[in-house]
Amino acid sequence: MRRLLLTAAAATAAALTLTACGTTEPAADDTKQTAERITLTDDTGTKVELDGPAKNVVGTEWNVVESLICLGVAPVGVSDVKGYKTWNTAVPLKNEPKDVGTRGEPSMDTIASLKPDLILATTDLPPAAIEQLRKVAPVLTVHAAAASDPIGQMTKNLDLIAQATGTTEKAGTLKQQFQAKLDEGKKALADAGRAGTPFAFADGYVVSNQVSIRPYTSGSLLGGVNEKLGLKNAWTVEGDPAYGLGTTDVEGLTKLGDVEFAYIGNDGDKDSNPFTGALAQDKVWTSLPFVQKGNVHRLPDGIWMFGGPESMSKYVDAVVAALKK
C-alpha cells in the first residue's frame, strides 16, 4: 500500500511539473461595445440582453436547434449530435456543430470553449445549470413545450429565437408556410372524407423485453397539429403538463376502439419500434380493431415529434398521405 501511495505521489509530482505554468488563453483585455442592442424577456421572466443579432449560438435541446436551422442560423454547438442526426432527418444539420454532451447535462466546459454569443436552453435543464450558463453568454430559456397550447408555445419559441438572431422576417415566412400547410392538409383530409376521424398517434419502446407505449394526447405538439387538421384525438389517457405525453401498455390500446393509429419509429434505434417487432406476435395487439383493419400507419422516420414548424409540416404531409390512401 505504501509503495502504491509513493508511486501516486511521484506521478502527481511529475504531472505537476509538466503542467506547470503556461496558459491556454491570454489574459483578458477590455471587450468592445457594439451598437444595436437587443433586449428580450424569456420564459423564465429573465431579461436577455444581446449586443446584436446572435451568430454563434449553442442549443441544448433539439427543438430549439431545429428552429435555429429553419431560421438559417447554423448552431456552433448542439447536444447529442448523433442523436439529433438519428431522430431529426426532417431538418438536417447543415454544418458540423460541436457536440456539447447530453441534452440533460450539457457540458459547461465545452459550451464555454465555443465562446457563443447566445445559448438556447429549455426549462428542462436544472435552474442551477441555467444560472451557470448565464455566466458564459446570454441564455434564452424557453419552455420546450406546453400542453395548454402546444402550437402556440412552438411559434412563441420560434419568434423569440428569431428576435435574438435577427431573423424575424424568416420566422414570419415560416409561420405563414406552416399555417398554409395546415389549411391545405385540413382541406385535403376533408375532401377525402376524413374530417373528424378518430386518430391516435403514439411512439413506443422496448426495455428488457417489455413494451411501453407513449400516447400523444391533445396537449402534445402532434396532438395539437392533428386537431388543426380536423382529426379527433382518440386518446383518453392523461398527458403530462409539458409535453402532453401519457404512458400506457398494449392492453391500454383496447380502449381506443376503431381508430386510425399512427407512429414514428426509427431504424437507427431498434428498441424504438415495437409495433412491427415485439408486438407483431402479441395477441392483444393483433386483435385490436384498427390492427385487423390495417389502419396502422408508420410515418416516415426522422420527423422529430417535439420539433418546430418544419418537422410539423413534414408530419402534416405524412398524415395526409397516410389517411388519403
Binding site: L6, A27, A28, D109, P126, Q132, T248, K255, T286
Partner: protein, 688 residues
C-alpha cells in the same frame, strides 16, 4: 458479527407439526391463488371481474379474452414464477451460507445477471430470450463466484455480505453507466433498475420456467446435504457430506434460479432476502419447514405471494395508466423493506459484538508518511480536477483566474468547475467522516451512511422538497435532507437500539430503510417528473452537475464542525469503538456520547447528499482503508479517512466528467466503479 440462521427451538408444539405445516402450506396456496385471481382483473384495459367471469363461463368478447390470454394471464404467471424463483434462490443461499443476509441481491447474483444483460443491450446484439438468459446466468454466476471466492467458502459470513454488497453496488453502477451512454435510453434506467413482470404472451414464461424447474429439482435432490451444512462444516464433514461441492452446487443452482427470474422480469429486489426471512418464524413453530425440502417450496410460495401481492397493491392504489409506469420492483422493494424491518426487530438477535479486526499496530512514522503522501495525492487530484475537463487548462490559467485576470472562457470554466470540485471534495470528506463516526459508535464493520439508509432518507427528504417546491434554495434543500436523514436514523438506530445496537438488527433494519427510501425516491420521480433523467441521476446515483459555491456552503460549514469535534473527542471515539464495558468502567456516559457522534454523522451525511446526491461506498471504504493503513486510533483514522474520502470522490468526479466527455457520468456511479475493486482488494488482503 456471526450472522447465523436461528437454530429452531424444538418445543412441545413439534408434536402436531406435520398437520400444522400442511395447514400453513395450504393457507399460503390459498392466499397466492386469491391474490392471483385479483391480479387478473386489474390492468389498463376495461377488463374487470365481470369480464373475467364471462371468460370463465365461455361467453367472453373476443377482445376481452385476448387481453386475458395474452396479457393478464402471462403477467400473473410471470409474477408467480419470478416470486417463486427468487424466494427459493434466497432460501437456498441462506441455507448454504448459514447467513440470514444472503440472497440473490446481497450475493451480487442479481447485479451480475443484470450487468450481463446490460452488456448485451449495449453491444446492440438482439438476442433470443434463452441466449440472453445464458449471458445473464454467466454474469450472475461469475459475480457469485467472485463473492464466494473472495470471502472464502464457509468462513466469515460478514465478509460474504460485505463482498456481495460491494460487488452489487459496483456492478449496478457499471450497468447504469453503460446504459447512460445511450441517451435515448435513459428513461429505461428506472425500468432496468427495477424489474417489471408485464409480459407479451406466454413465450417468456414458457422458456424460463424449465430452467427454474431444473434448478429446483437439483436443489431438492441436494436438500439433505444442505440440511447437514446447518450443523456446521466440521459436523457435516463428520457425517460424510462433501461440504465444498455441496455448497458450490447449491450456489450454482440458486444462481440459475435467480437468473431465470432476472431474464424474465429484470431485477425484482428484496424478494430473495425477504421470503426466507418470512418463512423462518414458521420454521420455529413447524418442524416440517426446518428441513430444506419443506422450507424451499414454502419460501417459493411466500416469494410468489410477495410479488403478486405487490402488483395487486400497486394497481389497486394508483390509476391504471400510472401503474404502468411504475416497475413492480419498486413496489416489492417497498413491501419487502417494511417486512424486513418488522422481521428484523422481532427476530431474536444472537450475534454478540465481534472481536475488533486484527490489525497490525502502526508506528507514528507510518501515520505521518501516509498522511503526508495522501495530502500530496489530494493536492495532485485537486489540481488535476481543476485543470482537466472537456477543455484542458494549464496552471497559468488558474493563476490568472485567481487574480481575476483570466479571459472569458477560462473564467467561466473555472467558475463552474471549481464549485464542482469542491462539492466532490467536501462530500467525499464528509461521507468518510460520517462513516468513521458511525462505524465507531456501532462497532459494526458494515455500518455506513448509505447502507444504513441515512443517505437514502436524506435523498428522500430532498426530493420531496424539490418536487413540491420547484425553486427551493440551497439551505432549505440541506434542511430537508437533514430532516429525511434524521427520520431515517431515528427509525434505524431507534429500532436497533433495543439491546444496544445488536449487530444483525442494525444492518437488517438499515438495509430495509435504504432499499425502501431508494424505491420511494424512484417512485416520486416517476410519478412527478417521469421524463427528467437528470433529476433521477442526481438523487439516485450522485452527481455534482450544476453545483455552485452557495450549494457547497452548508456542507463546508458542517464538515468544518465535524472534523473539529472528531479531533477534539478522539479519545472518546476510541473508547466507544472498543467495546461495551470499557467506557462504562471509565465512567463515561456511553449513551450521550454515542448520540452526539451519531447526530454528527447524520448531519454530515445529509449535507453531503444535499450537495452531491447519494454517493455510496465512501463511508464504507474510507474508514476501512484508513484503519488498515494506520491502525485503530481515531486521532490517526479521522484525518486519513477524510483525506481518502476526498480523494476518492474527487477522482470519481474527475473521471466521470472526462471519460465520456462531453457527456458525463454521475460521481456516484464512478465512486462505485472505483471503490468496488479497491474494497475487494482490501477484503482479499485482510484474509491473510
Amino acid at each position: 458479527m456471526a450472522v447465523t440462521a436461528t437454530t429452531p427451538a424444538i418445543t412441545a408444539s413439534a408434536v402436531r407439526t406435520r398437520t400444522g405445516a400442511a395447514a400453513v402450506a395450504a393457507a399460503l396456496v390459498l392466499l397466492v391463488a386469491a391474490l392471483a385471481a385479483v391480479d387478473i382483473t386489474q390492468g389498463t384495459a376495461a377488463v374487470g371481474a365481470p369480464e373475467v367471469w364471462k371468460a370463465l363461463t365461455g361467453r367472453s368478447d373476443p377482445a376481452d379474452s385476448s387481453v386475458l390470454i395474452a396479457s393478464r394471464l402471462p403477467r400473473m404467471t410471470a409474477g408467480l414464477l419470478v416470486g417463486a424463483l427468487l424466494g427459493m434462490a434466497g432460501a437456498a443461499l441462506q441455507a448454504v451460507s448459514r447467513n440470514v443476509l444472503a440472497s440473490p441481491d446481497t450475493l451480487a447474483v442479481n447485479a451480475g445477471s443484470y450487468f450481463g444483460l446490460g452488456i448485451a443491450a449495449v453491444t446492440g446484439v438482439s438476442l433470443p430470450l434463452l441466449a440472453s438468459s445464458g449471458i445473464a446466468f454467466a454474469g450472475g454466476l461469475a459475480a457469485a463466484a467472485v463473492v464466494l471466492g473472495l470471502s472464502g467458502l464457509g468462513t466469515g459470513t460478514v465478509r460474504l455480505v460485505l463482498a456481495g454488497s460491494a460487488l452489487t453496488l459496483g456492478l449496478t453502477a457499471l450497468t447504469e453507466g453503460l446504459l447512460l451512454l445511450f441517451p435515448q435510453d435513459t428513461e429505461g434506467v428506472y425500468h432496468w433498475n427495477q424489474g417489471s413482470i408485464a409480459q407479451h404472451g406466454f413465450d417468456g414464461v414458457l422458456q424460463v420456467a424449465p430452467i427454474g424447474v431444473v434448478a429446483l429439482i437439483g436443489l431438492l435432490l441436494l436438500a439433505r446435504r444442505i440440511d447437514a451444512l446447518a450443523l456446521g462444516d466440521d459436523a457435516a464433514r463428520g457425517l460424510g457430506v462433501p461440504v465444498r461441492s455441496t455448497r458450490v452446487t447449491a450456489v450454482v443452482l440458486a444462481a440459475l434460479l435467480s437468473t431465470a427470474a432476472v431474464t424474465l422480469a429484470g431485477p425484482i429486489g428484496f424478494v430473495g432476502l425477504c421470503a426466507p426471512a418470512l418463512v423462518r418464524p414458521l420454521a420455529r413453530r413447524f418442524r416440517g419447514f426446518t428441513r430444506t425440502r419443506g422450507s424451499l417450496p414454502v419460501a417459493g410460495l411466500t416469494g410468489a405471494a410477495l410479488v403478486i401481492g405487490s402488483d395487486v397493491l400497486l394497481r389497486a392504489l394508483v390509476p391504471s395508466d400510472v401503474a404502468v409506469a411504475v416497475p413492480t420492483g419498486v413496489v416489492t422493494s417497498l413491501v419487502g423493506a417494511v417486512f424486513l424491518i418488522v422481521m428484523a426487530v422481532r427476530v431474536r438477535d444472537t450475534a454478540g459484538s465481534t472481536a475488533p479486526d486484527r490489525l497490525r499496530i502502526r508506528t507514528r512514522g507510518v501515520f505521518l508518511t501516509t498522511t503526508a503522501v495522501l495530502a500530496v495525492v489530494l493536492v495532485g487530484v485537486i489540481i488535476a480536477a481543476v485543470l482537466v475537463g472537456d477543455s484542458k487548462l494549464l496552471l497559468g490559467d488558474v493563476v490568472n483566474w485567481a487574480q481575476g485576470r483570466a479571459g472569458r472562457t477560462v473564467t467561466f470554466v473555472l467558475d463552474t468547475r471549481v464549485p464542482r470540485v469542491l462539492a466532490a471534495l467536501f462530500a467525499g470528506a464528509a461521507l468518510a467522516l460520517a462513516g468513521t463516526l458511525i462505524q465507531a459508535v456501532t462497532r459494526n464493520p458494515l455500518a455506513e451512511p448509505s447502507i444504513l439508509g441515512v443517505s437514502g432518507g436524506a435523498a428522500l427528504g430532498a426530493v420531496l422538497l424539490v418536487t413540491t417546491v420547484p425553486l427551493a434554495g440551497t439551505w432549505s434543500v440541506a434542511g430537508a435532507a437533514f430532516a429525511g436523514a434524521a427520520g431515517a436514523s431515528v427509525l434505524v438506530f431507534g429500532l436497533a437500539a433495543r439491546g444496544g445496537f445488536q449487530q444483525n438488527r442494525l444492518v437488517l433494519v438499515g438495509f430495509g430503510v435504504a432499499t425502501g427510501s431508494a424505491a420511494l425516491v424512484s417512485l416520486l420521480i416517476i410519478l412527478t417528473d417521469p421524463f427528467n433523467a437528470t433529476k433521477a441521476l442526481t438523487w439516485l446515483s450522485g452527481s455534482t452537475y450544476g453545483r455552485n459555491l452557495t450549494d457547497v456552503a452548508p456542507l463546508a460549514a458542517v464538515l468544518a464542525v465535524g472534523v473539529a469535534v472528531a479531533v477534539m473527542r478522539r479519545t472518546e471515539l476510541d473508547l466507544v469503538s472498543l467495546d461495551e464495558d470499557t467506557p462504562r468502567l471509565l465512567g463515561l456516559s456511553l449513551g450521550r456520547g454515542r448520540f452526539g457522534f451519531l447526530a454528527l454523522g447524520v448531519l454530515l451525511t445529509a449535507t453531503a447528499v444535499a450537495a452531491a446526491g447519494t454517493i455510496g461506498f465512501v463511508g464504507l471504504v474510507a474508514p476501512h482503508a484508513a484503519r488498515a493503513l494506520v491502525g485503530r486510533q481515531h486521532a490517526r483514522v479521522v484525518p486519513v479517512a477524510v483525506l481518502l474520502g476526498a480523494i476518492l470522490v474527487c477522482t470519481a468526479d474527475l473521471v466521470g466528467r472526462t471519460v465520456i466527455a462531453p457527456a458525463q457520468l454521475g460521481a456516484g456511479v464512478m465512486t462505485a466503479v472505483i471503490g468496488t475493486p479497491y474494497f475487494l482488494y482490501l477484503l482479499v488482503r485482510s484474509r491473510r
